[in-house]
Symmetry: C2
Subunit: 208 residues, 2 copies
Amino acid sequence: MSETDELAGLSEEERRHKLRTQKHKAVVDARIATAKVDKGLLLVLTGNGKGKSSSAFGMVARMLGYGRKVAIFQFIKGKQDVGERAFLSRQPGVTWENCGEGFTWETQNRARDIAAAEAGWEKARAALSDPEIALVVLDELTYLVTYRYLDLDEVTKALRERPAMQHVVVTGRAAHADLIEMADTVSAIRDEKHAFRAGVRAQQGIDL
Amino acid sequence: MSETDELAGLSEEERRHKLRTQKHKAVVDARIATAKVDKGLLLVLTGNGKGKSSSAFGMVARMLGYGRKVAIFQFIKGKQDVGERAFLSRQPGVTWENCGEGFTWETQNRARDIAAAEAGWEKARAALSDPEIALVVLDELTYLVTYRYLDLDEVTKALRERPAMQHVVVTGRAAHADLIEMADTVSAIRDEKHAFRAGVRAQQGIDL
C-alpha cells in the first residue's frame, strides 16, 4: 500500500496521528534492533516509596507464567502473616525463606539479627549458585549491607559469580553504591504520598 | 525486667544498639498508634522507571493470599504473550481483561485506540462498582487520560464513587495531576539505570 493510499480517507487529525506514530515506530524499532543481548539481570529497587517488594513479587508472578523456578528470601521482616507468602509460597516452583526475626526496633538484639541475616544469606548463596532457579528475590537485602550484618564484598562476589542467565532482584531503602554500580537496572521509588501519613494503617492485600 | 537487668551482660555496642532501637520502637509505635483508619486506597504508580506494573501485580499476589477477588485491566499493551497474564489469569478469583490493541506506534490508528480504550473502560467501570472485588488494577491507565482517549472527569468520578473498601492501583508514566491529587499513595519510580539502554532486550519473567 502506498503512503497516499494509507492516508486516504483519514481526517486531518487522524493523518497527523498516523504520521507521528509512524515516525515514533521507526525510532522504537531502531532502539529495539540494537537491544539483542539476553542475560541474567541484577535489578535494584530502592528509595523510600511504596512498591519495592511488591514489584519484586510481580516479577515472581511473571516468571511463574513461564513455569520457571523462583527463590524468595525475605530478610528483616519477621514471620507475621502476609498475603504474598500465603499465596506465592504454595505455588509450584517457589522456594520461600523467611530470613528475618523482625525489624531491628522489634528484636532490639543486634547479635540475634546478625545471626538471622547470616543464616538467611547462606541459603540465598545456595540459590545464587543454582542455574535451575531463574529468579532470586533478595527482599530487604540492602539493610543487611548498610547495617554491616553481611559483608558487602561477600554479597557482591556471590552476585557476580551467579549463573549467567539468572535474574536477581534486590529491594530495600538506601541501596549501597556498589550494588547500584553493579546492577543492570535500578529504580529509585520516590515516596510522593503515602496513606499511612494520613492515618491509614497497613491494608491487607496492599501493604502486607 | 528492669532496664538494668535487660542491659546486663551486653557489650557496649550491643547496649547502644538496644537503647537506640528501643527509642526507635517508641517512635514507630506512636506513629502506628495514630494510623487506625481502614479504607480502600487509590494508589498511583508513575514515573519512567521499571517497576510500576510489576508492583501492581505483586499487590495482586498479596490480595490473592487473602482469597479475595481481583480484576486487572491492561490498557494499551496488546495481546502479546506475557508471563503475568499466563500466571495470574488462571488463578481463582482473578478477572483479566486486555483492553489495548498495542502501543500507539504499533496500531497507528487513533480511532481504533480510542474504541479499544472506551470498551475497556466500560468493563473497568463495572468492576469499580462491584464491592466483591477487593482490588482493581488499571494498568497503563494514565496514558488514556493524557492522550484524551478517556474523559478525565469520567475516570475520577468512577474512582471517587467506587465501593469504600475497594483498592485501586493505577499505573503509567506521567500521571495526570488530578489523579495524583485524589490518590492516597503515590510512588514516582525514577529510572536510574535500565538494562535496555545497555543493549539487553526485554527478558521473560522480568519485563514481560
